[in-house]
């Protein structure tokens, strides 16, 4: 009898190796057929003593449009915890194929600021396997604590969709929620995203997923052009909300149409203040000024 201990990794896993392994796994599954299990691995993965490179932090802050303060941006923490999260999805007993998963939603609680001198402990696990009208979705939960502390300073829940994968015992939701018609409001900002946006974010986040890097590598995975990282877009929106958000806040984003590169993205940020004049929350929505399609929307709110 073995107890489901958390898997403590000696060091942060390498994303590139994970992607290679994922590709091999996908090929293997195509050959052997999937062992259709509808159970998520119970173990969490944990890495302790993660240090932040200040050069990498500064480059990230500059790319996203954050001031290079000593406080780690919430999106940067997502990026450093991302390989750990991916390592859970990369397990052989994880029932969905990692490659081609679509990031549907992301929800972060930044409870207290973390600074670059903090040594970080982080855990990641998967939960909440459930149906979706076009596949199966799952939540990846990552938590980050300052070295040895029990207190979670940062918690992120990323919801991914495995399109076209239906597992036994997991029902599709019967009612498809009606999508409200989107009428683009007056934009408060216009982003000009160059064709190298994906590569630039890959360089600071370490997420070299081929769909973001170039037209060719994206086409190999069935995309017509490369697309911007969802977390790049969400992090820029968070930066655009500005310092009013303080150091503890929630940050939620829902992704819709992907942003193909290069392109222009229109954005509206609407801020609401409480009766006493302090900042309550800012909602953001982004769309294509050409087609009017909504790319993503979300909220940053006081915690």
């Amino acid at each position: 009898m073995t107890l489901a201990q958390p898997v403590i990794l000696a060091e942060m896993p390498s994303l590139s190796k994970l992607y290679v392994n994922a590709a091999a796994q996908a090929a293997r599954r195509r050959l052997l057929g999937t062992h259709d299990s509808a159970v998520l691995p119970a173990e969490s993965h944990e890495v302790r003593g993660v240090r932040v490179g200040v050069e990498n932090l500064t480059a990230y802050q500059h790319l996203i449009g954050e001031t290079a303060s000593d406080v780690l941006p919430a999106g940067f923490i997502h990026a450093i915890a991302f390989p750990l999260a991916m390592s859970v999805l990369n397990r052989d007993d994880f029932p969905l194929p990692l490659l081609g998963m679509i990031h549907l939603r992301n929800s972060v609680q930044q409870r207290s600021p973390l600074v670059f001198t903090d040594v970080l402990d982080m855990t990641a696990r998967v939960e909440n396997l459930r149906g979706h009208r076009s596949g199966t979705q799952v939540d990846v939960v990552a938590e980050v604590r300052p070295g040895g502390s029990g207190e979670v300073y940062w918690r992120g829940v990323s919801t991914y969709l495995s399109k076209g994968v239906f597992l036994p015992g997991i029902d599709k939701p019967t009612a498809v929620p009606p999508r409200a018609d989107f009428q683009p409001p007056d934009p408060t900002a216009l982003w000009h995203l160059g064709v190298d946006t994906g590569r630039a974010y890959a360089a600071v986040s370490g997420d070299f997923n081929p769909i973001h890097l170039s037209v060719l590598s994206a086409k190999a995975l069935g995309m017509r052009r490369s697309i911007a990282h969802g977390m790049y877009l969400a992090s820029r929106a968070l930066a655009d909300v500005g310092p009013a958000r303080g150091d503890s806040f929630t940050w939620d984003v829902e992704f819709e149409a992907p942003v193909f590169l290069p392109s222009r993205v229109a954005l509206e940020i609407a801020t609401e203040h409480s009766g006493s004049g302090s900042w309550k929350h800012s909602r953001f929505v982004a769309w294509s000024p050409r087609s009017g399609r909504r790319h993503f929307s979300g909220t940053v709110a006081a915690l």
Partner: protein
């Protein structure tokens, strides 16, 4: 009397009476980040990052979160073109109210002091009630300028309509056009660097090497002692892991300084005396100063350290060597003191920016020179000498470093605190003089008085 220089108006009968009555501008406090050696702890930080860090520390010290300040003014000497609104961007990234207006200012190394003077004047005139003055510079993250050839090609390419036109324009490019031009500190009209200019002045005033090294040693010793006594505890907020100025060498000695080879004025042969030890190094850093009217400070229960009494700017004709490049304060100070009816003996502290040790010593030498006083300043004799024990008593740029536009704020914050403490311990008002020289043959000087 006619002088071949810049005469000083007589103290008596000055036109002060016609100046309208104004209120005081007080210095509440200051904050800076430790200065880092170029390529050190702040190598990847931009001017905007450092200025924001200095602002956020000031905000934290004085509880200014969400405060709408009357105006913020700051600047940088080495500035990227994308930073045209540097100060505004820093304020938007800080904990201040986003409704705080700002302006950017550039006056070479006098930028920081000039923001203090300009904002203090606005407060005195009643235009604003509160202000933050500041400055920042990064020698690490300096803008790289492309060659004129490349610049023209890029601009022409942008205007071109057809592919053949574009190809034709591109064909004009030569390999040498692709080499970037480092930002120079050379004077555009002379081609001489600031150090080379000062070397000429140093030779002219016959400032010996030993005197320069001694001044540098004192700067390090004084700054180190100030740190030890906790003097900077409420003037500084660490950034990027740095808690003290990176250039400070508490253990330096005259022997070590004497062992350094001269770097400027070597073409002057035996007279080359200026070394890396008695010249300021390239540095990164930012500083801020909180200014206010009495009412504004009182309403918020903020401390009042000193007032900004008066200031004067001067410039010298250095291009063909009439005066040394960094000698403008030599003329600014006598004019300012005459207007205020003061002499050098009336000051408790002197803060003379140490661009080079020789700059300070040349300035003092000129003031002490009978002939110079008569022929160039229109005085009866020498302007005067200062009590050297009152000079840069908590260290200055040789030890702390000199991120160009940040130096003014460093000096004003330091001096205001010293004056306040002096007055508190002696029970009588204390007065201090600030002098900052700048490129282009400029200089700004100011008087602060304790509260």
């Amino acid at each position: 009397m006619s002088t071949d220089g810049q005469s000083t108006p007589a103290a008596e009968g000055s036109p002060r009476a016609s100046v309208p009555a104004t209120r005081r501008a007080v210095i509440v406090g200051a904050n800076r980040i430790p200065f880092a050696r170029s390529g050190g702890a702040y190598a990847k930080s931009s001017n905007q990052d450092m200025l924001t860090a200095a602002l956020d520390g000031l905000i934290a010290r004085f509880g200014l979160q969400d405060e709408r300040i009357g105006q913020v003014a700051a600047g940088a000497v080495l500035k990227h073109s994308r930073d045209f609104n540097l100060t505004r961007e820093a304020v938007l990234g800080s904990a201040l109210s986003a409704e705080t207006p700002v302006y950017d200012l550039q006056q070479a190394c006098a930028t920081g002091l000039e923001t203090v003077v300009g904002l203090a004047n606005k407060i005195k005139l009643g235009q604003i009630d509160s202000a933050i003055a500041g400055g920042v510079d990064s020698a690490s993250d300096a803008p790289v300028v492309v060659s004129e050839g490349l610049r023209e090609v890029v601009l022409d390419l942008h205007r071109a309509k057809t592919l053949p036109q574009r190809l034709q324009i591109l064909a004009r490019l030569r390999p040498k056009d692709l080499a970037p031009l480092a930002p120079g500190t050379a004077e555009p009209r002379t081609g001489l660097s600031m150090g080379e200019h000062q070397a000429l002045t140093t030779a002219q005033w016959k400032i010996p090497r030993e005197a320069q090294d001694e001044l540098a040693l004192n700067s390090h010793r004084n700054l180190a002692a100030a740190y030890e006594s906790g003097f900077f505890d409420d003037l500084m907020t660490p950034y990027r892991g740095l808690t003290r100025d990176g250039n400070l060498r508490a253990d330096t000695s005259l022997e070590k300084l004497a062992s350094l080879k001269p770097v400027f004025g070597r073409n002057l042969g035996a007279d080359a005396t200026m070394t890396a030890g008695n010249s300021t190094p390239l540095t990164d850093g930012a500083s801020t100063v909180l200014l206010a009217s009495d009412e504004w400070a009182d309403a918020r229960d903020l401390p009042k350290l000193a007032t900004v009494v008066d200031a004067e700017a001067a410039a010298v004709d250095f291009v063909h060597g009439k005066d040394g490049l960094l000698m403008a304060p030599v003329f600014a100070v006598p004019r300012l003191l005459a207007r205020q009816n003061l002499t050098l003996a009336d000051f408790d502290y002197f803060e003379i920016h140490e661009a080079f040790a020789a700059t300070v010593l040349s300035t003092l030498a000129a003031w002490e020179d009978e002939d110079f006083g008569r022929t160039r300043m229109g005085l009866d004799g020498a302007f005067g000498s200062i009590d050297r024990s009152r000079l840069n008593v908590n260290g200055s740029s040789l030890a702390a470093g000199h991120p160009f536009a940040a130096t003014g704020g460093r000096i004003v914050g330091t001096l205001a605190k010293m004056l306040h403490a002096k007055a508190a311990s002696t029970g009588r008002p204390a007065r201090g003089l600030v002098s900052v020289c700048a490129a282009g043959g400029q200089g700004v000087v100011a008087i602060l008085e304790s509260l």
